[in-house]
Symmetry: D2
Subunit: 318 residues, 4 copies
């Protein structure tokens, strides 16, 4: 079924939830094929026999794209070795997301730079949901930075990884709901700030993640102080104009998205509404993604498609 | 096991989740007994044969306390009839929560007024969680009202009632998470504002509830702009001082509560932390309750205990 | 992307869980298109404007296939009207599953009869899981009918339909598990018996369904008394031989399937193991399907593909 | 509130789910107090500072009862040391459940032997549910052992323990359902057989446990071949007669129990119905317990109460 122009790709660190999601998507993609996958812990990943990471070093020239799902801290030096050996790399760790050495791969923003990029830093799941909600208002100069932007987000448990930890057991998580990283100490905050404040100028941003008893999905409820009152339609117009023609972004007019609208899809769903009963104008923007798809593996494939000049949504359900 | 001073009580509208929780708690309470319960839809509520609401009108003088779990709008006139007939009433509907005709029964605030009260309006579940978090900072004059107070709250599905609705089916709610009443249109906002702003002066409050795929519990993540920087210990001190000796409030020092800490208990668990990386000081206070207990039936019993001069936590697990 | 030989199809009763799953699958299918959908309750089903059922009667000749997801009892007369008007029909109700007027559409059995069939009765979800597990052993003459065949099955909540019922509310189903139809009173029993005992002769079959707090999936644990001892490999060999080349059936050698192996797929996963510590030989066969896919909408499309002489798994993920 | 005859008790291996449930129940019990608890992994168990297991050896004479929640294999030698030192012991591990050295503590059966017992082996969770369902029919001589007894049981995840394992992560278990120990290889089978077949004579018993995506509870669906046809009422009469006056057993007349009826309670709920459409008579008995309460910690306290000649349900909600 694959034609003879299938591009071989490599997946490093394939046995976590992101790696497995990526393998699954790549297996359905008509234009690429997994040449090899590495894992330190599992011999077989969804039918692909894995090799140790060390075995990858002799094989960079065999593949047209390398995906690194290695842990934060471990990934950067491996990405560098692959790059030096001539490979193109999409790094799904956080190592390069604030670095000049990589293109920040929020596809809808990065698109022009991707075809020539050697290394792409795939965005974090929380920042993807938050930035897609905020960037249009920032670019339009509508955000009032004298008041804080408050981002409350909740993620499914797959976002916490596949390593066995007591606090992630079913009997601990089910019927519970908790905030974590409260007080702006989550490592995703700098990624949000770093890509937003160049547009808004200095701004107070409060980001609070929560752990949700679902398997996948992120819902971000983003409260945005604005310079002037905007009706719902005007707020929607800002989003619609910013994302006109975008295949992976859906603005829900007159509504608010939930996880149901996005799971298993490479999609950001957005809704916006003005806040009533306040003396100074604010909007609430709700943004939903699947943390494993548009928040990780799906966006990586979307980036790969642009880098390889394939149709952008090839192999993806948007 | 019950002695001969057991007080007979009535429960109106007993077949919903709140009514049933109340019946269950009253059945375990050593000093009261359910004399009659009304329901329009169920003949038997947890072993109590129910009567139609109409049958209650001849029986007000038989009971030492009436609990109304009737729907909003339906409750107020029934409460009035009972009051006129000499009964004492705790109204769990929202009808009287902003009315001069009832004591607002947030027990920790209302305690002095309860022993003489004829009618008590039991607080809503969301307002209980939010007000217990905010009132100490408001009373201490610490809240900076030039910036908005942002309350993000998530409730278990029992908070939406027991009437069959498609959007509350298991197959709709499981693995989903959604915001509702976005933009300050939820009917609980005036209850929060009405009991907070007398202490703070006019303030912008943004309240956004969410529907959580759990059966019970509310977690409120409350972002509070403050006049001056407070370390974690100073924030905790404000809460500890305000709630010293309170049997149903737990301040978690150095931590943040989750639903696990409060379900099936008549308890508010609180944690507070300063927000880092902002130019003007803020605190995040997290408040957890069981929506059916401290958020409804349990607080009603706590109020009854004070009204009847019984030990305040009699029959309650705090 | 669709070519000009797209076959128009109709979906009757499109707004339940099965109807919606079917619409979703048909929308992704390259060779067919939804010409019209009917619903009494929803104006729009996943982007398709619906018409009342009455409007269908003038349109039977417009479509190359009619899918009826109408309720049991309602479906049969409509199917008959469509058939008389010349339409081919796949009936997803239970009305015709034991009738001579339709081909019983367990695809793996019915395949030869499908290309010429006018009306196909799509099997029930529980019978699909049970029969696929049992038929190979029945055909091989291995089942000992002097002892009962015991089928314990558990289904996700979508199997109970999308009509609002109190007992299907999230707050009722979550953290619960219950048996229903205990004592062989479930309406699916005759469908299992009717298609099994022609092969085995009279047999005692005990079928007990359970309601599982998950959204989709059926797991059937089937205990089969056998005439002679079979090792695991021999039991697997019976299944492998029976289903050699079947694209939608997976025999898990040396293992036992779970819901995770089948949800969102048009697949039956099977495992078998001999029962130890018994004096007379038995096998336990475990069978897993997605109740909405291979148990309903997916199998309907698999049947349609064969009826229309399309590739059997076109538009399906197996 | 505690009087001066409080009995000090010890809990060994307190940090698992069973140990913690036990600590929680003991803390609410009016007649006993936790003198010490041991844990190798946690310094604090629900407010009790723990000591290493080694420290227990000098303290056996300090306590009136020792509860061992130690792992299988580890428990027996410690229990023996405690016994030799004169302590009375309730062993919640499986080590002594088939041993002459301990009374098998299914309270409803063991009651006469408990007051003088030195060592009690607390039954396993699955055997408790199965034996309470089967023993009355076995004692009445009603079971037809020429056909197999088939026990299908499903347990909440807390039954699998609190050690971090990948297969118990929320993201693995949620929305899944699986059989395990298929083919009579689960270690609980000999416990069921060993306590049942002395009454029935040799019998084929097929026991298949399943892992349920809930936190607590076991539902056992038990198919019992019987010597003669019994109507529902006759089957219920067997259970009612066997358990007349039992405070912790509820026979649901005309119904079938579910987990909802038993969680957080020290209760077995039972229902029975004849199987229709079979040529030889069978009953299906459904039995529900909370695996952590009547299946472990609650039954241990029930046993302790009898051993110490306290009211049998003291400190328990039945």
């Amino acid at each position: 079924m694959h034609n003879n122009t299938v591009t071989p790709v490599a997946v490093l660190g394939a046995s976590g939830y992101v790696g497995r999601e990526l393998i699954g998507l790549l297996d359905e993609h008509p234009d690429v094929g997994v040449a090899f996958a590495t894992s330190q812990t599992e011999r077989d990943v969804l039918g692909h026999r894995s090799v140790p990471l060390e075995a990858a070093d002799g094989r960079w020239s065999d593949v047209g794209m390398v995906f690194s799902c290695l842990p934060h801290g471990v990934s950067a030096p491996v990405v560098e070795r692959a790059r030096v050996a001539g490979a193109r790399v999409i790094d799904l760790s956080s190592d390069l997301r604030l670095s000049d050495r990589a293109v920040y791969g929020l596809t809808e923003v990065a698109r022009p730079a991707l075809p020539e990029a050697a290394v792409v830093a795939n965005p974090g799941c929380y920042p993807t949901a938050a930035l897609i909600a905020l960037l249009p208002f920032a670019r339009a100069g509508l955000i009032d930075t004298t008041r804080p932007i408050v981002i409350n987000a909740a993620s499914g448990v797959s976002g916490a990884g596949r390593s066995p930890k007591r606090e992630l057991l079913f009997a601990e998580v089910a019927e519970d709901f908790r905030a974590y990283g409260v007080g702006n100490v989550h490592r995703h905050l700098p990624e949000i700030t770093g890509h937003l404040t160049p547009l808004t100028g200095p701004a107070d941003i409060v980001f609070t993640p929560h752990l949700l008893p679902v398997r996948r999905g992120i819902l971000s409820t983003v409260h945005v102080p604005v310079m002037e009152p905007l009706e719902r339609e005007a707020g929607e117009r800002v989003l619609l104009d910013a994302y006109a023609g975008e295949p992976c972004i859906r603005v829900i007019r007159g509504g608010i998205p939930s996880l149901r609208d996005v799971v298993y899809r490479n999609r950001v769903a957005l809704g916006v509404t003005p806040v009533q009963h306040v003396s100074r104008p604010m909007l609430t923007v709700v943004s939903a993604i699947d943390n494993l798809v548009k928040g990780a593996a799906g966006q990586a494939i979307q980036n790969m498609n642009v880098m390889l000049r394939l149709p952008e949504t090839q192999g993806l359900l948007c």
